[in-house]
Symmetry: C2
Subunit: 233 residues, 2 copies
Amino acid sequence: MPDDLPNAVYSANSLFMSRASDTAYEKIRSFILYGEARPGMQLTEERLSEIAGVSRTPVRDAVQRLENEMLLVRSASKRLSVADWSDDEIDEMFALRAMLECHAAERAAQRMDGGGLARLREVNGLLTAAVDRAMPDVGTFLEANRQFHDLILEYAQSPRLSKLLPALVEQPVVRRTANQYSGEDLIQSAKDHDELIAAFAARDQDWAGAVMTSHIRRAFHSFSLATRDSDAA
Amino acid sequence: MPDDLPNAVYSANSLFMSRASDTAYEKIRSFILYGEARPGMQLTEERLSEIAGVSRTPVRDAVQRLENEMLLVRSASKRLSVADWSDDEIDEMFALRAMLECHAAERAAQRMDGGGLARLREVNGLLTAAVDRAMPDVGTFLEANRQFHDLILEYAQSPRLSKLLPALVEQPVVRRTANQYSGEDLIQSAKDHDELIAAFAARDQDWAGAVMTSHIRRAFHSFSLATRDSDAA
DNA sequence: TCTCCTTCTATTGTATACAATTGCTCTGCG
DNA sequence: CGCAGAGCAATTGTATACAATAGAAGGAGA
């Protein structure tokens, strides 16, 4: 099933994945995020090697990566299962993400240059075009949004942030509700990005950080409304 | 060489390590942090399997973990080397650690209970005793300090924080200069902990977070003085 | 019928052999 | 003398077989 999806849904990391452990990673990840995996579902390494089409050795590599991203969890007896997050953990994820992305924006503001601004404007142009119409193109929005944030991460020039943040961004809960975001939400995102670009252009790190924080926290708020309310109903 | 060291220097995670990949992890980690490894030094998986005394399979497991902690780095051609951090990266590490430990303290303040306070007081009693004398016992200080912060992390009740923070705490640069901290620094640390306990007892998350932030940032400042100045000389 | 123990099975962990890739050296040509 | 390419050596990546371990099932005794 992962082959049918647009590239947008894939991780930003590596577009070309030659090694078997990478294909295993992508396949298993898609299985969890967009496939028939369900939270709490038990899995075996052998089952996963069938899914990935490679032997257990590269699968174990991939599994360890996914454990680090907390998409998979191991029980005390080393058995694998798909992660199942509590509301508190999801809140926490957004809180951490807000902190780290704010920090990334602050650093990026200090290091931004003309080329970076041009690229940010270009990407956000695509994003704006995708949402500024009657029927928003959510797929394009998500892809452009990812590129925008990746660009900021790039200009933050912090290997450590680059390692920590991706595990917090594209997550099942986020993805599952992406289509529920209202057109207003999407348009506001584009405006946030415009303001971020302005802050970068001014090299004002506090401004950039503040915009980013509210950007993420508003996304969290929209997400909460979209899911928790419908769950309660 | 790792066998000669006190337990204090080991990672907090698992005291008993039965699996070969765990022993490999510990041995290689000690080799990097306290052994003859040098920043930038090239390594091969085979060399590491000699050091660890196990085959390459568990070594590769351990290596992946150490890559995540950024103690090991892979070049574009997949060759391994010991990480070599720039000053900017070290600054960044402290900044991130300060943010995350502050957040942990805030969460812990909301979730603290009598038992936790008692344990914190006990550990900090040991710590205070170790530093409140003419010749501070740095080893005991470090161990008690680690326990204290681990306890806070435990009460923060955030699996994600528990995964992210440890990779930021005990690092070569920190460890290498631990003995250079002045007696004043150590005593001030004990006082910070006392104030943290007070903030927890009051369940005042802002207070706890602020104390923690200044606690970490002072450590950073002491570290910078101890290293950068001597380097410059 | 419940509990404890034993046995068996499923699953994970490790070693080893081999494949694929990368870097290096040495040669031949310009 | 410099450089490009071929072959070789070193290193990483993958598959498979086997070992160790945890869970489950079944049976004996109270």
